[in-house]
Symmetry: C2
Subunit: 476 residues, 2 copies
């Protein structure tokens, strides 16, 4: 062993040592049941003092890499969990690699990691910025909430009746007439997709979606063994249908799509609905951005659904707080019953406290007032971003003026959006959502979000990006 920790590295000495020892074990250099060298010896070899070694070894014990045996030193464990995990290709990944959609996992991983850091300008993040989240008002609203003992026990399968009734009244305003029996409360729209994949579809069923579409919608279906197929709604759907065998359904975000921000027109919605209904292809309408349309807006597909053909999803994540983890599914009662059953078997229902809070906000009018304000502020942010784009990007890119939501799907004339660009921007502390994570073949688009970065950050971040693009063009 001639390895020594690097005293000038960003990673702490102690962390370098644990990493080193893990590597020795994982590569098999230190094998199961081997007695490791005494601490004194390790301290000498690594050129550190014994207390550092001690801390590192304690941590490795807690993590199951090493174990102490009374009176005889420290041994490498053949830790059963590590063995399990080595063997098990976990079944939630079983189908992923065979899917048509192969997102660039490394970029997505980097995005997830860097979203945890503080000094990064996040130009693509699909969340409300901290200053758009009503933390103060939420805190205050907690003071007005009354709990009775029934409400804090195990929940009824479909979720709080108070919340479902409040939702039924809200949905009515959007043209959707359903009773509380047609509603299931879930822990966010993402869980809804999970429940549908597991409870309503057979392995091998086909799930259509528009390309590009919401990234996290792919995983629940693929991991339950569904085949994802990207289609171009009107144009190709009808021909695709004809060649179709077996079960299928269509997942779509017709209003303010993620990542494009586009909404279908009322006519497009109508003809799509008719096409699917006639072909007996059920529709999942993911409508989490519905209330964030800047103008009048267009109604959901579900509002034109007389035949119980559309399964409708909503959530408060984009309007009130993602931390609440509250969403809903609207569907015919037999579907709701089955999904409620699976939900109970999965987690026994969503947080009763989150449900109380959302019900309180909806019933007291707080929610409406907040969403109203939020829309105005998002619109201001959208305008600000557009202004910057008009000033700095008009010569190299095009985009649609946003009609709501969070996103501008900017298209560069040249195919410059690749991993090198992404990494270069990251070096300058600007985090992007490049188009190729939605469609591996796309080198033209970036998803910009005007919901997360502060106005100053937008200015700085977009300026940096423009500079980077220039530099790369000038480089040989």
């Amino acid at each position: 062993m001639d390895w020594k920790p690097n005293r000038h590295a960003v990673i702490s000495i102690h962390r370098q040592i644990t990493d080193r020892i893990k590597a020795l074990i994982e590569r098999g250099d230190w094998s199961t049941d081997m007695r490791i060298p005494p601490q004194r010896k390790l301290a000498e070899e690594f050129g550190v003092n014994r207390s550092t070694i001690q801390t590192a070894l304690d941590e490795l014990k807690a993590d199951g890499y090493l174990e102490g045996r009374v009176g005889s030193g420290i041994y490498v464990t053949g830790n059963a969990w590590n063995l399990l995990m080595d063997q098990a290709r976990p079944n939630w990944q079983r189908h992923i690699e065979t899917g048509v959609h192969k997102p660039n996992y490394h970029t997505i991983q980097l995005i997830n990691d860097y979203e945890q850091k503080d000094d990064i300008i996040r130009l693509g993040t699909g969340e409300l910025s901290p200053d758009l989240l009503p933390a103060r008002e939420l805190e205050e609203s907690l003071r007005s909430i009354t709990l009775d003992a029934r409400a804090i026990g195990y929940s009824s399968p479909q979720g709080s009746i108070k919340l479902r009734e409040a939702l039924s009244a809200r949905l009515e305003k959007r043209g959707i007439t359903v009773s509380s029996d047609n509603i299931l409360i879930v822990s966010g729209a993402l869980q809804a997709l999970q429940l549908i994949a597991v409870g309503l579809l057979e392995e091998g069923a086909t799930v259509f979606q528009e390309g590009p579409s919401y990234l996290n919608s792919v995983h629940p279906f693929q991991s339950a063994g569904m085949r994802m197929q990207a289609v171009n709604r009107a144009e190709t759907l009808s021909s695709t249908i004809r060649s179709l065998k077996g079960q299928s359904l269509f997942y779509c975000v017709p209003t303010l799509n993620n990542p494009t921000g586009y909404s279908w027109t009322v006519e497009e919605k109508k003809s799509f609905y008719t096409l699917c209904r006639d072909a007996r292809i059920p529709i999942i309408e993911d409508d989490v951005y519905q209330e964030l349309q800047f103008g009048e807006g267009s109604p959901p597909l579900k509002a034109m659904d007389e035949a119980g053909h559309v399964l409708y999803l909503g959530s408060v994540s984009k309007t009130l707080s993602p931390g609440l983890r509250i969403g809903w599914i609207v569907a015919p009662t037999p579907v709701i019953k089955r999904l409620a059953d699976i939900k109970m078997q999965t987690d026994y229902g969503s947080s009763a406290f989150s449900q109380e809070i959302v019900a309180h906000w909806m019933m007291s009018g707080r929610y409406d007032r907040h969403v109203e304000r939020l829309r105005t502020r998002l619109q201001e942010r959208a305008e600000r971003m557009e202004k910057i784009l008009l000033r700095q990007y008009q010569d190299i890119a095009t985009w649609n003026r946003p009609s709501g939501g969070f996103y501008i799907w900017i298209r560069f004339h040249a195919p410059i959006v690749n991993k090198a660009l992404f990494l270069k921007a990251l070096q300058r502390k600007v985090l992007l959502n490049p188009g190729y994570i939605y469609d591996p073949g796309d080198a033209h688009h970036i998803r910009l979000s005007f919901a997360y970065a502060s106005l100053d950050e937008m200015e700085i971040g977009l300026h940096q990006l423009r500079k980077i693009i220039e530099e790369r063009r000038d480089a040989p």
Copy 2:
């Protein structure tokens, strides 16, 4: 059609009509795309007025059984969801029927249904009664909670660091030394089992458990394709292990087991731990009742675990409120990382509000004070129940004196605990958890819970049960 609704039935007329029409459709008497008889005609046939028919048809439309076509009446839909559901043996049920453990689904269904009703005496319910739940204090505590915007956004994968640190300090007191990195916050212990089944095990792996054991632990594993095997810990485990092929793990509730209420002794825990460790069979220790031991209590297996061999589960469902949906997994960091990953893909983390509340209760000392009081009150209830048993059941049954938790696992000398007894009790408005739902061959046990029914209800319920047993003995 000569069917007419029954005006004297408990079910409403309008409900009888919707049920009737659903049945006609489901049996195929009314087939897909058939135009149904005009409302006037239906009203005549069923002998009700048109508005009743109208309401029923509207509901059937909303549920996707019927659809209106403009200008031409109402038709039977070949509702795509119904078709899907008919075809799809949902994959969460795929493996259930092949499992060794075949609970009596009908009885379990009845228990779930009757637990929703108000005028039933629930002698077996595994929940805190409304008057043991600290609704008032929870409500009050909401006033002291402060939220910052970070805390109400999308959560970090492992859950609130504040809560994880509070838990790490609590666990230390129980002899479990782990850092916040070894903890994953989940939506209740049930979700923990779900994540483990999906993320750590291959299809076909063997999950051992003691018989009888927690009912809902079976489903997550079976639906992910694991084989469940009931073993008698010490006696048969070692011989079973020898014949074992492929992956396996042991799921157990060593402290205050559900349904028996038994705890293993410290010696039993030690020898079990050693056996499993040496055989490299990882252990899941479900310890949701740990803090409800009446006396000193015995420490968790996890406290003797130097090798990261035990995956440890806890929850506030049995102490504070099941509606919070907060539990935790303690494990080596590589395991935590993988499970956190799956958790994020499943529902993006647990309610941030629930996490704040639990962290607040633990850090402020509220939690300790409450659990202390709760233990006393559960002990009083246990003594009260035992007193009734001593008075009325000593001649026909035996039981162990409870050492904590919720349950008394009463054993009748004669094999009298069957479905007939269960139904008879239900008729008298007494709901039981008979032993045969835990083990189909068991005709001797009932799980009594002293946590749910009020003291008066206990008295009345147990008196009724005794009477029923007598009557049945006297009957020919």
